[in-house]
């Protein structure tokens, strides 16, 4: 049983490090802005998996505080059910079946847009519980707990690492590089006020051509990351967004794409299980400020003013756990 393995390792660490239970544990994790690529990918043995490559968004995050106590587990706010479930699973995996406590989760990540609010709450909760008990969980262990708590998880527990992540298994299919090439992102919410239940959605039913078409996207992504080529990254993201459009269509997709192209963006990128679309720019290009301004005013005229504007490399990664 993987859970038993984790608990054995965790208790060994607890013992050898002599880390005592703390008054409080903290956990924090950044959100994301959907995916650069999402689809079906073979692993090294040729077995097919659902997988994704997340676009980090470090200006939003979830934070959790856990105060251990015997007995029940109380979560605030009490509608953070998956975070509560994740905290319970983490305690169990540490062998602390009788342990409870008080979990508080706060988040600046908008809900239902496909920006990782649910996974962020879950990961922050796991980290807070682990921290409270002096257990340093590896990202892979956090991922497995997160998938058990919410069926499908984003890869934010791996930070800015560029990985192809199997979101329903919590495993890394391929390490692509230390990070994606830096991007400047203009974010549009295509369905303000509605939102998507990102976890309840049925997984996309790709056809035979699409299953194969993800291969060249992955090939170009490897090159984009290896050579730091943001333009290639934009091509991959746009191609993946086009396939996603057949499965979870975004309103005004073609208009946004046309604005991106005419403003000189590298491409567009979508939340494959959400409502946000990102126009991608190269932060190293001096023309970007002008292009972003131009795209912003055109998006205004079609009634979709950008809600966020961020750089993937601008904010320091905060890491607690």
């Amino acid at each position: 049983m993987p859970g038993d393995v984790i608990s054995r390792f965790a208790s060994v660490r607890l013992g050898t490090r002599g880390n005592q239970r703390k008054e409080h544990g903290f956990g924090q994790v950044n959100g994301h802005h959907g995916e650069i690529l999402q689809g079906i990918f073979p692993d090294d043995a040729g077995r097919l998996h659902r997988g994704l490559v997340t676009l980090p968004c470090n200006i939003v995050s979830s934070t959790a505080v856990f105060r251990p106590a015997p007995g029940n587990l109380v979560t605030v706010p009490d509608d953070k059910l998956k975070a509560a479930e994740a905290a319970r699973l983490t305690l169990d995996s540490l062998g602390l079946h009788d342990q409870g406590g008080h979990l508080t989760v706060e988040s600046t990540i908008p809900v239902g847009l496909g920006m990782g609010s649910s996974t962020a709450d879950v990961v922050a909760a796991i980290r807070a519980v682990a921290h409270a008990h002096g257990a340093a969980l590896a990202a892979d262990e956090v991922a497995r707990l997160a998938v058990r708590a919410e069926t499908a998880s984003d890869s934010i527990m791996h930070g800015d690492l560029a990985i192809l992540f199997a979101q329903r298994e919590g495993i890394v299919l391929e390490h692509l590089g230390p990070a994606l090439p830096p991007l400047e992102v203009l974010s549009v919410n295509t369905a303000p006020g509605t939102g998507v239940d990102t976890v309840k959605q049925p997984p996309a039913d790709y056809d035979d051509w699409e299953v194969q078409a993800f291969r060249p996207l992955r090939g170009m992504l490897r090159r984009a990351i290896r050579t730091g080529d943001a333009a290639l990254l934009g091509r991959v993201a746009t191609a993946s967004a086009r396939i996603s459009q057949r499965h979870l269509p975004k309103p005004a997709f073609e208009e946004i794409n046309a604005i991106a192209a005419s403003a000189g963006a590298l491409g567009i990128q979508v939340a494959h299980s959400g409502t946000v679309v990102g126009l991608l720019f190269d932060p190293r290009n001096p023309a970007t400020a002008r292009r972003v301004a131009e795209a912003t005013s055109r998006l205004d005229t079609i009634g979709l003013p950008p809600a966020l504007h961020f750089r993937t490399d601008a904010v320091e990664v905060r890491h607690v756990a």
Partner: protein, 361 residues
């Protein structure tokens, strides 16, 4: 096949095969021209078609495969059938190469040679009839049907992956068209990443694939007397027709200048790709070389055999002759702006040359 079925299909890497022989080696020929040189290109679509058929039960373990082919697709099927334990029946005609014939027999293939062409439909129809008979005589047998099987073009995603990973952004793709699988497949995959990709198909005079009248062809492997459903005509921006003598001479030049020992269709692709790369020096071109030269020692690589070819001049044209319509038959290298049209659209457009003639009369 449903996605669920696809995701749970048996792993091809657990069955025997030749994964390291399937993909081409990429060779930079000039600053902006890259060749993708295959050992035997057909191994890739053949393996993919067999994997898919095995996954959904069309092909049973130890089952029988029937196909009509006298070319490299038959050899690829024979290699896979030999190591995977399938029985293979290939229908061919007397034009089959003697050495290929022996090699297929050594691989355990049952070869059915159609001795006489039909009065109407020639060898092609006679072979299709014989194939039908073989399928009926072997109930439960599987026919890959490379001309119509959509798994043929889809197999080439792996080549598109390799090109995208190794070369990044590509401006132009050039390759020969037989079944249409390789070019239609790769073009569509790469265009998904680059809608502006310029795609050039290479055919040969007297092939009906891009609208010429049917006739005798000396250059084999590309072109066809039928229009295969796997040719997606709308993928092509330009079509070139290359004659046999030019293709063979270009095959020799590919060896002389770049040390690549490939077959005749590689020469045809090289001729066109080299011309386009020279005339577009700031654009990145990739072209497909589908098989190696060893099968052509006594022909393409034999000076005496070449010199005896009808119309042999020993001189390679510098550039194609543009034609106003595909029905303007020329025996030598010509080109047409196809503009991503369907075959019907192209054929429906009046042939301007014929119209001028009619007006002059």
């Amino acid at each position: 096949m449903s996605l669920e079925m696809t995701m749970s299909q048996p792993l091809s890497r657990e069955s025997r095969g030749f994964p390291d022989y399937e993909l081409p080696r990429l060779v930079r020929l000039t600053d902006n021209l890259h060749g993708a040189a295959f050992f035997l290109m057909k191994l890739l679509p053949a393996r993919h078609m067999l994997d898919r058929a095995a996954a959904d039960g069309r092909l049973k373990p130890g089952g029988t495969i029937c196909e009509t082919t006298s070319g490299t697709f038959g050899l690829a099927l024979a290699m896979l059938a030999a190591v995977r334990g399938y029985k293979l029946i290939l229908v061919s005609d007397p034009a089959i190469d003697e050495h290929l014939h022996k090699r297929l027999l050594e691989l355990g293939v049952t070869l059915e040679i159609v001795e006489k062409p039909y009065e109407i439909g020639g060898f092609q129809t006679a072979r299709l009839d014989r194939l039908r008979a073989a399928l009926e005589a072997n109930p439960g047998s599987f026919c890959p049907s490379q001309y119509g099987n959509a798994d043929n073009p889809r197999a080439y995603a792996e080549v598109a992956e390799q090109i995208a990973e190794r070369l990044g952004h590509v401006d132009c793709l050039v390759g020969t068209v037989g079944s249409g699988g390789s070019m239609s497949g790769i073009a569509r995959f790469l265009r998904h990443l680059n809608p502006d990709l310029h795609v050039i198909g290479v055919d040969t005079p007297n092939s009906v694939v891009f609208g010429q009248p049917d006739g005798k062809r000396l250059l084999r492997g590309l072109g066809n007397s039928l229009v295969p459903p796997n040719v997606d005509h709308r993928q092509f921006d330009e079509i070139h027709w290359v004659g046999a003598a030019e293709a063979f001479l270009a095959t020799r030049r590919l060896h002389q200048h770049h040390a690549l020992y490939q077959g005749g269709t590689s020469g045809a692709a090289y001729l066109v790709a080299d011309w386009w790369a020279r005339t577009h020096p700031d654009r990145k071109v990739v072209t497909l070389f589908p098989d190696e030269g060893h099968r052509y020692v006594a022909t393409i690589y034999n000076d005496d055999w070449l010199a005896a070819l009808p119309g042999w001049t020993g001189v390679l044209p510098e550039a194609p002759q543009p034609v106003a319509h595909p029905s303007d038959v020329r025996p030598s290298w010509s080109s047409y702006r196809w503009d991503r049209q369907t075959l019907d659209e192209v054929l429906a457009a009046a042939n301007p040359a014929a119209r001028d003639l009619a007006e002059a009369a």
